[in-house]
């Protein structure tokens, strides 16, 4: 197990716009880090650079204090779980899981011992003699995990390992990965585009967009205090509502369209009249309260445990989440309230204010 230090790392393919720009990240020993972002944000490239599958254009990556820029993947002592699982089709489950140990000429008894321990942990005992073709998707995923576990490497890398599973299995494997990590305590870097996976798995989330790190922090940090509009919109489901407005310094309020005013009750160091974006999560929107804003109801989506109301507020799409089943009956309009302590404020550049 080891720390991983990424210093000023960039990646560019000759002549094209950079894929990654100036990435700095220190990962503590035993930490579970999730790289999250939409596709094309550079998260997989960063993971592949740590693995040694992709050359580093600038900067350094160190694993356990040793710079690995010029080391071949095999010399980095890391294990990786691929989205496609990348199981060797011509080898049995046991052979797949022990391939790395056999390459290192580990004594047979040790190999058998480690295989036993790993396969018991993952519930694969019954399948050791099978070829990957004869396994279900979930079992294949476990074998891919097992192949990583038997090695006891310095770090585990996961490249969207659950994307190919159906929703129920994904939930189950998510919990198992978390439990495995608790047991092994190994440094792990996990790439996903699914913010729920990121929230549930991570010690710290690294949110990426356009090849740049947008925010690093604990899941609740990112949920409670998103650093900018991108993170605010990306974390949370349904996504955060945004309303454009102007700062009224005198009233300590945001002036929205149609002369409605949102009191903020915070001291903000912005010139009067600056552009400002107000964000509020659908689950924090109050319905039917006093002094609220009127919103037209466009669509009612029952999810079972709650209801998502698709509204139109001041000509902006706006969502509210409620468990009150009265709202299942279609209505023309509702009044919405936004508690001042639940408001997120972003300046004209999209950065969080205070």
């Amino acid at each position: 197990m080891a720390t991983i230090d990424i210093r000023a790392v960039s990646k560019a393919y000759g002549g094209h716009a950079p894929v990654l720009t100036d990435i700095d990240l220190s990962i503590r020993d035993g930490e579970f880090i999730v790289l999250v972002g939409p596709s094309g944000c550079g998260k997989s490239t960063l993971l592949r650079m740590i693995a040694g599958l992709e050359a580093i254009s600038a900067g350094t990556i160190a694993i356990g204090g040793r710079v690995v820029n010029d080391l071949a993947p095999k010399a980095r002592d890391i294990a990786m779980v691929f989205q496609s699982y990348a199981l060797y089709p011509h080898m049995t489950v046991a052979e797949n899981m022990t391939y790395s140990l056999r390459l290192k000429k580990t004594p047979k008894a040790t190999v058998a011992e480690k295989l036993e321990a790993a396969s018991r942990k993952l519930g694969l005992d019954a399948f050791l003699a099978r070829k990957p073709k004869a396994l279900s998707g979930g079992q294949r995923q476990r074998v891919a995990m097992g192949r990583a576990i038997v090695r006891a490497p310095k770090a585990f890398l996961f490249d969207e390992p659950l994307s190919n599973l159906d929703a129920r299995l994904r939930e189950q494997m998510r919990a198992e990965i978390r439990k495995l990590h608790a047991g092994l305590g190994a440094t792990s870097i996990y790439v996903t585009h699914d913010q729920v996976e990121a929230m549930t798995l991570a010690d710290r989330i690294v949110a990426m967009h356009g090849g740049i790190i947008q925010q690093v922090g604990s899941p609740l940090d990112l949920y409670d205090r998103p650093a900018n509009l991108f993170v605010a919109g990306f974390i949370g489901s349904p996504g955060m509502n945004f309303l454009p407005g102007r700062w009224d310094a005198g009233a300590r309020a945001v002036r929205l369209k149609a002369d409605s005013v949102l009191p903020v009750e915070r001291a903000i160091d912005l010139p009067d009249g600056s552009a400002i974006t107000v964000g509020v999560r659908p689950e924090h929107v109050g319905l039917g309260g006093e002094g609220g804003l009127a919103a037209a109801v466009e669509l009612v989506e029952p999810t079972g445990h709650g209801i998502i109301l698709h509204l139109r507020l001041q000509d902006q799409p706006f969502k509210a989440l409620t468990t009150d089943r009265r709202y299942l009956t279609p209505q023309e309009s509702v009044t919405v309230t936004m508690p001042a302590d639940r408001l997120h404020l972003f300046d004209g550049n999209g950065d969080r204010i205070a």
Partner: protein, 274 residues
């Protein structure tokens, strides 16, 4: 209406099969027709008596077993050497992005369009001081070169069908790139390798122009050379010639069965090669 369409379709298929098989059937028919019936029953579909005398003669009293052996040696050696070389080159084309890759692919493609008959004279002249004319080794060298480009495209398409993740996983598991190639990629490409061997074998087995030019003695003759000289020498004994022809057909058909499944991939990979 639909029934008539179906009937016409089946009849058309049957007509094609008949057209494809008839010449081969005739070859077999004449090869088992006794000499005394050859002319009297010239155009009967099947002789009233059959014999294996022609085969017995060809196998026991002619040089055809020798020609057969020579052809087999040349074709097998060509097939294995060309496939090995093409395997490495095809792997490079499939897996590396390198400067000059386009030039290499372009060169391989051009050699496929190229009138090989142009090379008959210079190759003869160049091989002769090296002692490679009238030599099976010389033929293998020439055939390998002619078949490598096509085999490269074929192997490249087989490698392209194997996900990169697999060798990346192997490299992370501790294998070198060559180790991943040998332990992971090669075993998975075995069917493709077999198909490539089959394609090259078939091509080498039927090559005639360069064999005629480069081989001058009976001991070194490959099957086409032997058969054509037999035709010009003893052009009267049709039964024996056709028996020899049937023998030449056998390995080609065996390899055809081997590569049948890959025909589409093969012919589209080469697109130019017969």
């Amino acid at each position: 209406m639909r029934a008539i369409g179906t009937l016409a379709h089946r009849l058309a298929i049957l007509a094609y099969i008949a057209f494809a098989l008839f010449p081969l059937f005739w070859l077999v028919k004449v090869s088992v027709t006794p000499n005394d019936l050859l002319y009297s029953e010239g155009i009967r579909l099947w002789p009233s008596r059959t014999t294996f005398e022609h085969f017995r003669f060809v196998l026991a009293h002619s040089d055809f077993p020798l020609f057969f052996r020579n052809s087999l040696i040349v074709s097998l050696a060509t097939a294995f050497v060309a496939t090995a070389l093409a395997g490495f080159a095809g792997y490079a084309l499939s897996r590396f992005a390198f400067r000059g890759k386009l030039t290499v692919s372009g060169l391989l493609l051009v050699t496929q369009m190229f009138p090989l008959v142009m090379l008959v004279a210079p190759i003869f002249k160049l091989l002769s001081p090296l002692g490679l004319t009238n030599s099976l080794t010389g033929l293998v060298v020439v055939y390998v070169a002619f078949n490598v480009p096509f085999a490269c495209f074929l192997m490249q398409s087989f490698f392209d069908g194997i996900p990169r993740d697999l060798e990346e996983a192997a490299m992370i598991d501790g294998a070198s790139r060559f180790g991943a190639f040998r332990q992971i990629i090669l075993p998975l490409t075995l069917p493709g390798i077999a198909a490539t061997v089959g394609f090259v074998f078939t091509a080498a087995w039927s090559e005639m122009i360069f064999a005629l030019m480069l081989i001058s003695s009976n001991e070194k003759a490959t099957f086409p050379v032997g058969l054509l000289s037999f035709v010009s020498k003893f052009s009267v004994d049709f039964g024996q010639m056709m028996a020899a022809g049937v023998l030449a057909l056998i390995p080609a058909c065996l390899f055809f069965l081997l590569i049948q499944r890959y025909l589409v991939q093969g012919l589209t990979a080469g697109a130019v090669k017969g």
